[in-house]
């Protein structure tokens, strides 16, 4: 089991969700986050004082999947999120030791989906 973490542009969330659905990935968790990457920030000014805004709004996805879903999930995220512009985001994959469904107590592969 893997935990896939992805940072994407907020406005691509709907496309990514659609792409995931197409690959039968229905479960995911979303947080809003701010990111600092290759994408340059922008300058805000407020009452004449400069603010360098280098934390840009991003959406963070967390998706736990079984091994055979890892690649499809990654593909789907890329399909949904890629615009070829700087700021498109990153995907991180982590090994998941265990997964438990709170409602039933099921564990492991059964619990994940």
């Amino acid at each position: 089991m893997k935990l896939i973490i992805a940072y994407i542009q907020p406005e691509k969330l709907n496309d990514v969700k659609q792409a995931l659905y197409n690959k039968q990935v229905f479960k995911l968790s979303v947080t809003n986050a701010m990111g600092c990457g290759q994408q340059k920030g922008f300058h805000e000014t407020y009452r004449g004082a400069d603010i360098e805004v280098n934390l840009l709004k991003k959406v963070r996805l967390e998706i736990a999947v079984n091994e055979d879903f890892v690649q499809p999930t990654i593909d789907a995220i890329i399909a949904g999120a890629r615009t070829n512009k700087i700021g498109d985001g990153k995907i991180f994959v982590i090994s998941l030791d265990q997964c438990i469904r709170i409602r039933t107590g099921e564990t492991g592969n059964e619990a994940i989906g």
């Binding site: 406005e11 709907n14 809003n32 300058h43 805000e44 407020y46 959406v59």
Partner: protein
């Protein structure tokens, strides 16, 4: 940005240049007050309203003026609340500038186009009494008007003027570029609005037969046509119509929107109450009654309609219903019975909900705040309703003359707004880039967020 400077230069330049000639004449205005006051006392012996009555009338008109003024805050908060958080600063900025632009341009030329007196160039259609404010002989006394001084007259009318531009603002929110929008507003409020006003309230070609008490057509549908043309020419916000299906783009602050509608309702006490043009007890109180009954009826009807059509009662529809009732009663507030006012409000409340859905679903025009439905559709409804509901003995306002007035204003405004928006579109451009739109106009146009520090999660 450069363009904004340009515009600003133009406005300020115009201000300075014109103002020189414009305001020159009344330099000694206030200092003449004492002398004139004496005159007035003298005049009080002759027929004409007593100084007391004149003063009461003028007080009422000043109260009406500040009530209309506060409508600008109402528009600002309503529109802001019904759009997304990322465009809030931009909307607030526009709505702060509009009354300023409205007042100044109305002083420079609008007032004298709207009320040309006997300076018609094209009879009953276009007149212009010259630039700026010139206190006429006796302008501070009842010799000018039994109901108000020249200054009050200007201020009350000036506060009205800016509303026409504000109405447009709501329909183009979320994607219009700041500078061209301000240019549009300036020209629309300085020229288009006062021309239409001159036709009726300025004694122009429809003034005999058309009845538009406080501006269902002259103010609201003038704004509404601008809103419609703007929304069409700009196109919908990104994400509004996706593969033929209509997506909701929810407003971000319904508390703000509700404040807006209550302030607008409050303002209507002055909008309609002041349009009596004096403090006449029966006249004003009757108009306030019909106005309030129509607003109440609009709320109820829109809530019910929205409950039926949308399954659950929609607050934003109830709010639109209130405004719909108010816009609807504005043309006939003085000539329809209280019962008719309730009917006009009820129908306006139903109409506005159906119209919002129709504009969205059938016309696929993206009007974030429902400006077209509230101001244009209900403005037309209210104007025609005079023909249907006016009380016995009212001479003007037959259905046919109402229809003529609606059409005259409509053709002119749609053409004027359409040409102006297209001209701006093909010169400096009127729409922000897709990227700026997605990131929000607050950052794009102002480099500033409206809710600094708040975590806001928007995917639209």
């Amino acid at each position: 940005m450069k363009r904004l400077l340009l515009l600003s230069g133009v406005i300020v330049g115009a201000c300075l240049l014109l103002a020189g000639s414009a305001f020159g004449q009344e330099e000694s205005g206030a200092s003449e007050a004492v002398a004139q006051a004496a005159e007035v006392v003298a005049e009080a012996v002759e027929p004409g309203p007593s100084l007391e009555m004149f003063t009461v009338n003028n007080v009422w008109m000043m109260v009406a003026t500040f009530l209309v003024f506060i409508m600008h805050l109402g528009f600002a908060t309503l529109e802001t609340g019904l759009e997304r958080a990322k465009n809030a600063t931009n909307i607030l900025f526009k709505n702060t500038l509009i009354p300023a632009i409205g007042l100044l341009t109305f002083a420079i030329c609008g007032f004298n186009i709207a009320y040309p007196g006997d300076t018609w160039s094209i009879n009953g259609i276009l007149g212009f009494a010259g630039f700026g404010l010139h206190l006429p002989e006796g302008g501070g006394t009842s010799a000018y008007n039994v109901g108000y001084t020249y200054w009050t007259d200007f201020l009350f009318q000036g506060m009205f003027a800016a509303t026409a531009a504000t109405i447009v603002s709501g329909a183009v929110a979320g994607r219009v570029k700041l500078l061209p929008f301000l240019l549009f507003s300036t020209i629309y409020v300085a020229i288009a609005y006062p021309i239409v006003v001159s036709w009726e309230w300025g004694g122009g070609f429809i003034s005999e037969s058309f009845h538009d008490f406080a501006g269902s057509t002259l103010v609201h549908s003038v704004g509404g046509w601008g809103a419609l043309m703007g929304a069409i020419i700009l196109g919908p916000r990104t994400g509004k119509f996706v593969n033929g299906s209509v997506k909701a783009i929810p407003g971000h602050n319904l508390g703000l929107a509700t404040i807006g509608v209550f302030l607008l309702w409050l303002g209507w006490f002055g909008f309609n109450g002041g349009s009596v043009l004096s403090a006449d007890a029966e006249g004003t109180s009757f108009v306030l009654l019909t106005t309030n009954l129509a607003a109440a009826a609009g709320i109820i009807a829109a809530s019910v309609t929205s409950s039926i059509v949308q399954k659950k009662p929609d607050l934003t529809m109830a709010l639109n219903g209130c405004l719909a009732g108010l816009v609807g009663i504005t043309a006939g507030a003085d000539v329809v019975s209280p019962l008719s006012a309730v009917f006009i409000g009820l129908i306006a409340g139903v109409l506005v909900v159906l119209s919002v859905l129709f504009v969205d679903r059938a016309l696929k025009i993206d009007d974030p705040v429902g400006a077209v439905s509230v101001h244009l559709v209900c403005g037309i409804w209210g104007t025609l309703a005079v023909g249907l509901f006016r009380m016995d003995g009212v001479e003007d306002g037959s259905f046919i003359s109402q229809l003529k007035g609606v059409i005259a204003a409509g053709v002119f405004c749609a053409a004027f707004a359409g040409i102006l928006f297209l001209a701006l579109k093909y010169t400096i451009g009127i729409r922000v880039s897709r990227e700026e739109e997605l990131g929000g106009l607050d950052i794009g146009e102002h480099g500033m967020e409206a809710y600094s520090g708040f975590q806001i999660f928007t995917t639209t």
